[in-house]
Symmetry: C2
Subunit: 255 residues, 2 copies
DNA sequence: AAGACTCATATTGCATGCATCTGCGCCTTG
DNA sequence: CAAGGCGCAGATGCATGCAATATGAGTCTT
């Protein structure tokens, strides 16, 4: 049936991955509004894969939190309140705090910290410029992602890494979820300057074995994202710029 | 084929749930040793359900962490080091610390705290006895589970609740994973006395709005499980008493 | 006119068929 | 006798068939 493959596809779980990515895009783009049941046959038509991969992808997206099993069967697109987003960020920050503490307590050597040091230096190069282009913001996102990966790695625990990965997979909870917002606002550079200062302090605290300080810094670092979320909610128009703004069930902002 | 159902089964995802529970039992009982590929046809024979639910159950168990996707496809039973178990407990403790802090910061009213107060009182009734029967330990496990559920609920965040749920689903990371061990050792009651004292202090801290103290207490409370884990590892025989002792890849105890 | 019931349709969950690929054993050969 | 290649059995991933059930429209009743 679906044999009209233009290019040769490779890998085992290719259909499932394709379905998963396609569904994610459809949901985040708002094509499937929150609360709506995700019809499997409709997705078969849309995505060009059969029901089996679609179902498997839905199962994974449910684990990810984008959809939830419906009462009568199937899956429905989940809605998120502002409090949900804030909590997801707080969870990530808390777990990154744990990772930072563990990293500090392991007393890493200078060479252990080399990748992180290089990353911070590279970030300095980006943030240090007086005015940031869009390419600069992209570079920041890349380096920022690497910083957080490396922080996770330094914890020395795959279990903690898994937990952080799952927390960061929640919508809007990724370390770079709001960076793109900075690019469109005047004080965007200042936010990056603050965040970068935290990167540096975090590196310092880990290098000195200051576990509690590292944990506090990592948690506070995540709250930069909290602030950006708040700002975006106060200025509702900005939400349109986010990939998944339509998933937000507004009017439920928590104090 | 598999139509020889003795009793009528009900519910939609019944076959998947059955496969999931059956697989979990097989793995935790050591019937499927770590590193072994889980053959789907073999599970079809063992569990009496077709490959579709088996595959879905494997997907869920992979999310749970009991199995991992193999390099060439399929799933393999995961092995756990002592460090993995300790880290999983630490992750749960950290997240419960977050929940406790959020609960305290919400300044719950006395009636909000009523279920937790009642639970602590009931636990007093169990732990207060001079000698504990096996039924007492069972009662403790029940009440302890309720305490942790209620703590999670008091955080007021479904997102945090989800994160804790996932953390506690890791093997050995559940709040009651090691309680049964206490029953078989002389100082078992003392451990429960200590844990119960922490329950009481946690309730007090939350009631007073002392967020940081509540977080620290919850984290330290989880470390009771860490201690029991260490003790069990030092006395290897005790591992046989655990449901999933065979999953442990020993000789990898971290300092 | 509003609400409840009924029936046709669509969808879900499970089972199974099919092509491809991995892994293993056997045979051949140097 | 050892090493390498070949072939086969089994397993995986995807597609699809089938029965049970929810959904929604249309109709009938009050």
């Amino acid at each position: 049936m679906t044999r009209e493959r233009v290019a040769e596809d490779e890998g085992r779980g290719m259909q499932v991955v394709r379905a998963q990515q396609g569904l994610r895009e459809l949901i985040l783009a708002g094509d499937l509004p929150p609360g709506k049941r995700v019809s499997e046959p409709a997705m078969v038509d849309r995505l060009g894969v059969s029901r089996t991969p679609v179902r498997l992808a839905l199962e994974r997206l449910a684990q990810e939190g984008l959809v939830a099993p419906g009462a009568t069967g199937g899956f429905v697109v989940r809605a998120f309140t502002a409090a949900d987003l804030a909590d997801a960020i707080e969870v990530r920050g808390t777990l990154e705090g744990l990772a930072a503490r563990l990293a500090a307590e392991r007393r890493p050597t200078a060479s252990d910290l080399a990748p992180l040091r290089d990353c911070v230096a590279a970030l300095d190069g980006v943030v240090g410029r007086p005015a940031l282009s869009e390419a600069d913001f992209d570079a920041y996102v890349q380096l920022n992602a690497f910083f957080h990966e490396e922080l996770t790695r330094l914890s020395g625990s795959t279990v903690v890494a898994r937990a952080i990965e799952q927390a960061a997979a929640q919508p809007f909870a990724s370390p770079s979820a709001f960076v793109q917002l900075h690019a469109t606002e005047p004080v965007g550079r200042d936010t990056l300057v603050i965040a970068q200062d935290q990167h540096r302090l975090l590196l310092e605290a880990i290098g000195r074995g200051e576990g509690a300080r590292a944990a506090a810094l990592a948690a506070e670092h995540a709250r930069v994202a909290q602030r950006r979320l708040r700002a975006a909610l106060d200025d509702g128009d900005r939400l349109a710029g986010l990939p998944a703004g339509s998933l937000l069930r507004l009017a439920a902002a928590r104090a």
